[in-house]
Symmetry: C2
Subunit: 449 residues, 2 copies
């Protein structure tokens, strides 16, 4: 594994207060490593180390810090200095930072920034949360269609300094409408006299400011793009989403899905840095909901009290049947939720999913039922009927669980609910209740209890 | 959502056999869309549509196809034509395709390719599976440290045509050792007379051919790189991993983790395209293992038969207690497994995780126990002791479940086992068994059953 030696070297320097060497060492570090270093220091040292950075590095490190560290830095930094930092941050990073801060602090910072920064930031804050507009950069190279390659290269070499993104250039028309895209590679490889018009891809993949971030990121991933142009309502080019931002969105969305599938309210911070209090808050709500819904299962069991009072051995198979049902169901829901997340399964595929799950579950259920029957035949030799009841219940439970697990995420999506949040945590409860009803109705019928 | 209109237009053209218009339409499509189109066609049409592509497009589409479509195309294509296609594929894509094919077919194809291709492919196949070496491209621009910017630009414009990756250039020494990296942006923005030496980052982040793919991809993501250089055992630069390949690795690894956490053998193909037979095979093994391990839980219950024969109401709380335990445990395991996957939690953090989970679980458990006690107090007014037994069991179960869920993934990692495969599916079983023991020992002690 890659070990960042310089990062390891820096840590003891803070402890031993060797500020001269530390300052030197910090200069060699990547902003991301500096941000990590600061986050790992005792609270009282963080601002001090941040103040050692050059202005240029400070700006880069600032947007990589955790929200709580940012608040700490903001609280000990003068307004003028802060505003100056925000004037130098890319707008999308500035907005990202501001979103995490209390309204009072935001006002205080914005007051000091220059008009251009303030206008830009306000425009970004106008885009819906989680929209493509929020993560795009407005800093990229624009070309005209009738430029020659030579003119384009000269323009890039002059204008590029101020732009964040340079690997792709975009060709715009008189109304700023997006006409095409051309990579720096294509420009460099062409002869000086060629026209950009002839080089550019005139049907570039693009998205609009109000598109969902995850959809935009998936588009970038699908077409292996290093940047995706973003247009406004009048198809004017307003920004570009770069692949590093897309990657971050995809990782965050996956983490969110995972947390929701495991019945948690998603959090935005790293586990080790999240307080016990917030972790507990994120988890307790769903556990309460599921606990109370498990009482339905309890109520069902109460109906069959007579059955297991007469035949206590029936109780000992309950965990196996409900667990197998839960596992079978979550296999199906997980695969369908992930498929929908990656855009591989659409809601219109619902019936295909159901038909597939039905066949898979019959196969899987039959194997499990058979294995179980053989095992019971050996361990409870006299009780063939019990063995049959348990095995038949297993088969029906698996079929029910897989169909529910396959179709519930699709239904959630159709109802515009996030499948991860709605479908996954509920599967166990729904499947448990159904499994017990299956088990005891079969038992009542065949064993007469 | 982005709708690819041209893709939608192409489909009916295949059906109606309008090959002239189709050929025209295909030319306008991205290779990824063509691959999708082919995959969605009836089997008998797939090869025919592939044959309509220009040679250049065919090469690009080929490596985007699903394994089964590739086999189909291979089976109807002449050896010479195939070998020619492999000569034009980037080595990493060629290896990717070959890995999915039977050994006989691989031999048949390699026989026809030229010596250079064959040597390259053999070298790649020599790197361990899932290693950085397997996904790197050997096609990138190399510069010398004492080149001027002008010389570098001229070199790039001449040499670049044959190289896949151009946004980053790498500076190598006389022994091909990696000296530094410089982006095309930095080169273009510098004055013609500057030396590359002065521009380059002389401590670039890099990895080696034997590093795990996922670790390499995480490195790329961490430092927002568009490419990561890869060196061999003698620190000679041999390749570059580009961000699109890294993104693919990260998505595949996440899908794998998700499938393993839901007790499935991971598959490499899309759900809708996987046969019922393979889906069933991927799911049944773990279900069998878990079914048999749930029998342990059953055996535990059998020990307490007397207790619930005497007091059947106790049975009705079993699902609530075990489900809550399972949910609480999988919350913890999910968050820890994801944290380890993203490199945010290391095995050495084990005790910190345990300490955190202990405090969180005490908080969460107390809330759940209290809520449950109040509810039982209302619904079973006379049975205060039962209410107390159930609530106390809930508290202890949640604490146990969260500690097990938090520490099991860390232990798996320490034992070099994939936490997703080992920890997640086992949590329910372990937690169920422990929860029942907790419940019935408390019940026996306090209720004397």
């Amino acid at each position: 594994m890659y070990e960042n030696k310089k990062l390891e070297e820096a840590k003891p320097l803070v402890e031993s207060r060797e500020y001269g060497t530390l300052r030197h060492c910090l200069r060699e570090l990547d902003p991301i490593d500096v941000a990590q270093l600061i986050g790992e220091l005792p609270r009282q040292d963080r601002a001090a180390v941040f103040r050692m950075l050059s202005k240029n590095q400070a700006v880069q490190v600032f947007s990589e810090l955790d929200p709580e560290d940012i608040q700490l830095i903001v609280s000990v930094t003068g307004e003028e200095e802060l505003a100056d930092m925000f004037d130098h941050l890319p707008t999308d990073d500035a907005v990202d930072v501001l979103e995490e801060m209390p309204a009072g602090v935001v006002k205080r910072i914005l007051r000091g920034t220059n008009t251009q920064t303030r206008t830009q930031i306000n425009r970004y804050l106008h885009y819906p949360e989680n929209s493509a507009g929020r993560i795009m950069t407005a800093s990229f190279v624009e070309l005209k269609a009738d430029m020659t390659v030579k003119q384009a290269i000269d323009h890039i070499r002059k204008d590029g300094e101020q732009q964040d993104h340079l690997d792709n250039c975009y060709v715009i028309g008189p109304e700023r409408e997006l006409l095409g895209s051309v990579t720096i590679k294509e420009i460099l490889l062409a002869s000086d006299s060629w026209k950009i018009k002839a080089l550019m891809d005139d049907t570039p993949v693009y998205t609009d400011t109000h598109e969902n971030q995850e959809q935009a990121a998936l588009l970038l991933a699908r077409y292996d793009l290093s940047a995706l142009p973003v247009v406004d309502g009048e198809t004017r080019l307003v920004g570009v989403i770069t692949v590093d931002d897309a990657l971050e969105v995809l990782e965050e969305e996956t983490t969110k899905d995972l947390e929701q599938m495991a019945a948690m309210t998603p959090s935005h911070s790293q586990y080790l840095k999240t307080s016990v209090w917030s972790l507990a808050k994120n988890r307790v709500v769903w556990l309460l909901v599921l606990m109370f819904s498990a009482m339905v299962t309890g109520a069902i069991l109460t109906r069959y009290e007579a059955a297991f009072a007469a035949m206590p051995v029936l109780v000992s198979f309950i965990p196996m049947i409900t667990d197998t049902g839960g596992n079978a169901g979550s296999q199906s829901s997980t695969i369908v939720i992930r498929g929908m997340g990656l855009g591989e399964i659409a809601p219109r595929d619902g019936l295909r999913v159901l038909w597939k799950e039905l066949r898979v579950s019959l196969l899987v259920g039959a194997v499990l039922a058979l294995a179980n029957f053989l095992r019971l035949y050996i361990t409870y030799p006299g009780q063939m009927t019990v063995a049959f009841v348990v095995s038949a219940s297993l088969l029906f439970t698996v079929v029910m669980a897989k169909c529910v697990g396959g179709i519930l995420p699709v239904l959630a999506k159709l109802c515009k609910v996030d499948p991860a949040v709605m479908a996954a945590p509920l599967i166990t409860t729904v499947v448990d209740a159904c499994a017990l009803m299956i088990y005891f109705s079969i038992a009542q019928r065949l064993l007469g209890v």
